[in-house]
């Protein structure tokens, strides 16, 4: 369609896209709207989009009494530690695969791609048993340690990026007497910032939204992450306004991160087809 496109086609284009966008966005509007309603107003018919009266007390209840303050802190700590781990380990391994010629290189590369295909439900039970052996059930270790060992997706992303950097960088650094770890930390890591930020965003989203992991490993309420906190609210059948306040709290940080890092995120998905 270009400038000569008939007006009614252009109109149709906008009508379709706006109608679709309304369907996509409405659940968010409804989430926020319900979270600001009093118990009496929740079931009001016909439903109002702008609550009357506006009631912010649901947030206070969820934040303090249901302890979402704690869950939010927990989520941020785990996400932070996982991001550090994923960025360091994935780029280390990617550097090793991209720069050195060693016998098992191709084997490791193929295994890495294969790991993306092994379904989580097959490895889930033995992985649980490993952590049980280490006596770290009901701690955050099972949720954090693996990210320090490099993940296939992150390694793949970093590998493709480092491969695209000119080889002369490495060679001239060797001539200058720089050791491989020095080259990694002083040259390649700083140069990989675009790929690192993409991986950072993916890790944030993946860990923040993870429900199964915390569900399997955490029992003590004070160690819960936000998704578990919300699941707990839902299973307790509290009123909808409280639940929606919880849902807004858990959604807001990812939406902010997404808005700030939109470019990296969308490019990452488009180029790999995967989502962390």
């Amino acid at each position: 369609m270009n400038k000569r496109t008939p007006l009614f086609l252009k109109l149709l284009l906008y009508v379709l896209l706006i109608a679709g966008a309304v369907v996509m966005v409405f659940p968010f509007v409804w989430m926020i709207s319900t979270s600001l309603k009093t118990v009496g107003a929740i079931a009001e018919m016909p439903p109002r989009i702008i609550p009357k009266p506006l009631d912010f007390s649901n947030y206070e209840t969820v934040w303090n009494k249901v302890n979402f303050a704690r869950y939010t802190l927990n989520s941020f700590i785990i996400v932070g530690l996982d991001m550090v781990g994923a960025l360091i380990s994935s780029s280390l391994v990617a550097f090793g695969l991209a720069m050195f010629d060693f016998k098992l290189r191709n084997v490791i590369f193929v295994v890495m791609l294969a790991t993306m295909m092994v379904p989580g439900q097959v490895t889930m039970i033995p992985t649980y048993l490993i952590w049980k052996q280490f006596r770290v059930l009901d701690t955050w270790y099972p949720l954090i340690v693996p990210s320090y060992l490099g993940g296939a997706f992150g390694i793949f992303l970093m590998h493709q990026y480092m491969k695209s950097l000119p080889k002369e960088l490495y060679e001239s650094a060797v001539i200058d007497g720089c050791s491989p770890p020095g080259i990694f930390f002083r040259i390649y890591l700083p140069l990989s910032k675009p790929a690192l930020s993409a991986l950072g965003v993916f890790t944030f989203m993946g860990v923040w939204n993870n429900t199964v992991g915390p569900l399997i490993y955490l029992q003590t309420r004070s160690k819960y992450t936000l998704p578990l906190g919300l699941l707990f609210l839902k299973s307790e059948n509290v009123n909808q306004a409280l639940m929606m306040a919880g849902a807004v709290i858990i959604t807001l940080p990812v939406v902010i991160v997404y808005l700030l890092a939109q470019k990296h995120f969308v490019q990452g998905i488009a180029s790999t087809g995967l989502k962390g």
Binding site: M1, N2, L13, Y14, L17, A21, M24, V25, P27, W30, T34, I42, A43, G96, L97, M99, F100, D101, F102, K103, I108, V111, M112, T115, P119, Q121, V122, T123, I125, P126, T127, Y128, I130, P146, Y148, L149, G150, G151, V174, F184, W208, N209, V212, I216, L226, P227, L230, L231, K234, S235, N237, Q240, M243, M244, A247, Q262, V266, A270, S271, L274
Partner: protein
């Protein structure tokens, strides 16, 4: 490439440990458990094929396979078709505010499943749900979307929520593919009198078929592994989800972490894996008929 071999091993060591501890060992051990009776507290006892036979004999397994297949059959085509349509519309040169539209369509993808689940279950509410209220305006009787007597209604509702959540991701992949279609080709086709529909079916679609294929494979695999969508909508594994609408990943989780029947759970996990593998190979077989590579 450099010949300092030992450095290669040093840098890749973390991942080698990862693969051995969290991949190879779990695969082997999971296969082993599936042939044993194991409850986490007593040592595993070898019982041969018993778990596999029992799982295959139980109606529950076939119910869950039926449900997840119907779920995928509803979810994958609708999601792919909508994602294709939206990507095509977003790719129109005449469109303004592209990135704003893309943002709206992509928002559900980044939303945590639990948040999406609680808001949709509230909108689906039989008495006070906004969806039934809206349909009521047109004189349509309220539907008990998530707790309907008919499992088809329930599975369809869940699949539609899944479409809402996942559509943006497929859309972004397809949009990236469509941006590879040279604008000049479309323009010259238009000058030659090709209608918008002809351009779509004869130029755009053939060029993006590899992306359509990838999107379909990825969403089929994710559909068969559905778990979070159920958890978010129903708020638990044992609460609220009737036997009639269970899917394999839910029974695997329940058997292992709530009932401590590790053997049957592992056997079910492997069976699910084989089903997914078979479907992926099947789709690959038909790939040649319609996917064009340059």
């Amino acid at each position: 490439m450099h010949n300092q071999r030992h450095w290669g091993y040093i840098f890749t060591l973390p991942f080698v440990i990862n693969v051995i501890v969290f991949l190879l060992f779990p695969i082997v051990f999971s296969a082993y458990i599936s042939f044993t009776q194991y409850d986490l507290f007593n040592p595993p006892k070898w019982i041969g094929l018993t778990n596999w036979i029992n799982v295959l004999k139980k109606q529950e397994f076939w119910l869950s396979m039926r449900n997840v297949s119907v779920f995928a059959l509803i979810f994958v085509p609708i999601q792919t078709a909508l994602a294709f349509l939206i990507a095509f519309l977003l790719n129109q040169a005449a469109l303004r505010a592209k990135s704003l539209f893309r943002l709206f369509y992509f928002l559900p993808v980044v939303t945590p499943w639990l948040a999406a689940g609680v808001v949709w279950s509230w909108m689906f509410n039989y008495q006070y749900g906004v969806i039934n209220w809206f349909l009521g305006l047109f004189g349509i009787n309220p539907v008990n979307w998530l707790y309907h007597k008919s499992w088809v209604v329930v599975i369809t509702s869940i699949a539609l929520v899944n479409v809402w959540k996942g559509m943006g991701q497929s859309m972004v992949i397809l949009l990236a593919g469509m941006q590879n279609v040279p604008q000049e080709v479309l323009e010259s086709a238009q000058i030659d009198g090709a209608s918008g529909w002809k351009q779509l079916t004869h130029i755009v679609f053939p060029i993006v078929t590899p992306m359509v294929y990838m999107v379909m494979i990825l969403s089929t695999i994710s559909a068969f592994q559905a778990f979070d969508v159920f958890l978010g909508l129903f708020g638990g594994i044992t609460t609220g989800i009737s036997e009639q609408v269970m899917v394999p990943n839910l029974t695997i989780y329940r058997d292992s972490f709530l009932l401590f029947k590790m053997g049957p759970a592992s056997a079910t996990a492997w069976l699910l894996f084989f089903v997914i593998l078979a479907i992926t190979l099947f789709q690959r077989y038909f790939e040649k008929r319609w996917v064009h590579y340059e």
